[in-house]
């Protein structure tokens, strides 16, 4: 296999005696799509918080390729190449869809570098391409506040694509979506495969089957199992801890 894109090495966090994430080690290869599975409270979102800098870890290290980013401030982690989509879709509500993508398209984050007008033709084309990819061309001039729930999720995905991070963290990208919307989201994510390294938290097994290569199962803050979809579905420990005796429906 190729280079390792994301290394999580013995990561732990302690919330006043409660270990939400306990000694988790995961390596994700360049271009891989990894799904994080686990029941509520398994520590999936907390793990994403730790990687993206929202929460500071108490033990362990995180690397993007060769750069250690453990407990850096969020904006520096983002600049180091980690993009994140939140569970509750968060976009800039009072900007238009296009402006949302344009903000994500500002390569240089400093204030002074951005004291200029407009975007180059190449930058505009990039925004156009992403608008097409997420299917919001018709809405490009609409305020993001007026998008439907699914459209908002796609817009946030689009912002990530424009930002072009090496590693993409997706926290339940299909939460609250209709089946048709879920299918389209799977399409968008499949489109990203290979170009980005992707880590997805997801509950919806149908969706997981559609996109997953490898799955890591978390349980009570620890890694319970890791393997392909079939491995995980057959794994007795996983069935017991997470799926119940009835198995995956």
């Amino acid at each position: 296999m190729s280079a390792i894109a994301l290394t999580i090495d013995g990561l732990s966090v302690d919330f006043g005696g409660f270990r939400a994430v306990n000694n988790v080690s995961i390596t994700v290869f360049d271009g891989e799509l990894r799904v994080l599975l686990g029941a509520n409270g398994a520590g999936k979102t907390t793990l994403m918080d730790l990687v993206s800098g929202k929460t500071h870890s108490t033990q362990g290290k995180v690397f993007v390729y060769d750069t250690e980013i453990t407990n850096w401030p969020e904006h520096r982690i983002a600049r180091a190449g980690i993009g994140r989509k939140f569970q509750v879709p968060s976009v800039f509500r009072d900007l238009t869809v296009r402006q949302n993508l344009e903000v994500a398209n500002c390569r240089n984050p400093s204030v002074l570098a951005n004291l200029r007008f407009g975007f180059s033709r190449a930058e505009a084309r990039r925004v156009d391409d992403v608008l097409a990819l997420i299917g919001l061309e018709a809405e490009h001039n609409m305020m993001a506040a007026y998008l439907s729930h699914g459209q908002t999720q796609w817009l946030e995905l689009g912002m990530l694509i424009v930002q072009d991070p090496k590693v993409v963290l997706l926290d339940e990208p299909t939460a609250g979506m209709t089946q048709a919307e879920t299918r389209k989201t799977a399409e968008i994510i499949n489109n990203l495969k290979g170009r980005h390294t992707i880590l997805v938290v997801e509950h919806d097994m149908g969706f997981v089957r559609e996109i997953a290569e490898r799955i890591t199962v978390l349980h009570l803050g620890e890694v319970l199992a890791e393997g392909s979809v079939e491995d995980i579905e057959r794994n007795p420990k996983v069935r017991e801890a997470y799926l119940g005796t009835k198995g995956i429906s």
Binding site: S52, S90, F92, F117, M143
Partner: protein, 379 residues
């Protein structure tokens, strides 16, 4: 260029044309009054920039206004022909003489413990430069502290509010240096390049008009840059912006500082026009009043906030000078504010924007630019 955009530019051009044409319509006393309103207009722009575009409600903008005012007032005090101890080559402000201890040397350096602070202000350019530099530096330091700590929302308002009251207290308390409650009065005129800015002259009016126009155009241009767009993105969702890689606090500090700089310049212009500086500039009520102007004018509209400030002050002057309403004018202003907040939450700027959109739709019934589009009301 869209029709909306053409109307926006037309609105700016029209407004600037009107303020430059105003001297035709009135005498010097009226002009002096309007000059003050133009200065208030600058404060409206400063508030709209932070509140509307950055989502930072500064309840202590009077701090920057007051500091700008005091810096220039100190210089102008020292160039006043009537309020100094004359006959020596180093004149001393009158209030220092009145309060001097017996036997104290009547020199600016040492008439009292703090009087040496006035020494640099013997040059008018020092007052002019410090009038903008001091507000900017203090805003920068405050911003670094507050925004680095990720303090936001109402807590920023409380901190700025407390700070303006604290500085006001210090200014009043440092009576030997600042003349305390009385403030600095009986000032000389500002002189730049041989032009004396008599407060009741057209030159002074045009100075205010030019400063306001430059502020409006400059502020409008800067919010249209990428940085301005990122700032609005930060206002909408700080966390999202941070995860896109932006150092959110730097953007907040940058625009906070610009707003403070505008307020500092406004303070200096006010001193030139009104010929005094007083601790009342740092009263809480004044800072809150600025916010009311911006709310009535429309906080998300730079021009709206500016017009709001000018309009409210014109109404206030009119009402408070009408005999039947002398007692009631404060209630009337309050009522206007309540009505605006209830029925026009986006203020005059928002109203103008809605009216314009209706007009465009009637003009071209074919193009359904639905009300969903571009509702930011950025007139």
């Amino acid at each position: 260029m869209s029709i909306e955009r053409k109307f926006q530019i037309a609105a700016y051009v029209l407004f600037i044309a009107v303020i430059f044409a105003a001297p035709v319509f009135g005498d010097e006393f009226w002009l002096n009054r309007i000059s003050k309103y133009l200065v208030y207009g600058m404060l409206g722009v400063a508030i709209a920039l932070t509140w509307g575009y950055a989502g930072i409600l500064n309840l202590g903008q009077g701090l920057f206004f007051g500091l700008g005012a005091y810096m220039l007032a100190m210089s102008l005090k020292l160039s006043s022909p009537t309020s100094l101890q004359q006959g020596s080559d180093k004149p001393v402000p009158d209030f220092m003489l009145w309060n001097a201890e017996p036997g104290a040397p009547t020199q600016l350096c040492c008439i009292n413990k703090g009087s040496f602070l006035w020494l640099p202000f013997q040059s008018q350019s020092v007052g002019l430069v410090l009038g903008i530099v001091l507000p900017v530096v203090i805003a920068g330091a405050l911003g670094m502290l507050v925004f680095r700590k990720r303090i936001s929302g109402v807590f920023v308002s409380i901190i700025t509010l407390a700070l303006v009251l604290l500085v006001r207290l210090i200014m009043v308390d440092a009576q030997p240096v600042t003349n305390g409650f009385n403030g600095l009065t009986d000032l000389g005129w500002l002189t730049i390049g041989g032009i004396e800015f008599d407060p009741y002259s057209r030159a002074t009016y045009y100075l205010c008009a030019v400063c306001l126009s430059l502020t409006l155009i400059g502020a409008r241009l800067i919010v249209e840059t990428r940085a301005g767009m990122i700032l609005q993105a930060i206002r909408d969702d700080q966390v999202r912006a941070r995860y896109l890689g932006f150092d959110v606090s730097l953007y907040q500090v940058f625009f906070f500082v610009i707003s403070a700089g505008i307020a500092g310049v406004a303070g200096m212009l006010y001193v030139i026009v009104a010929e005094f500086a007083s601790p009342t500039f740092m009263d809480l009520s004044f800072s809150v009043t600025m916010v009311v102007w911006a709310a009535v004018g429309g906080r998300s509209s730079l021009l709206g906030a500016c017009i709001g400030a000018i309009l409210i002050n014109m109404i206030e002057a009119e009402v408070s000078e009408t005999e039947a309403l002398v007692e009631a004018w404060k209630a009337i202003i309050g009522l206007i504010f309540v009505l605006v907040v209830l029925f026009m939450p986006r203020g005059l700027g928002g109203l103008a924007h809605d009216v314009l959109r209706q007009f465009i739709r009637r003009l071209r019934p074919g193009s359904v630019s639905s009300s969903l589009q571009q509702q930011s009301g950025a007139l």
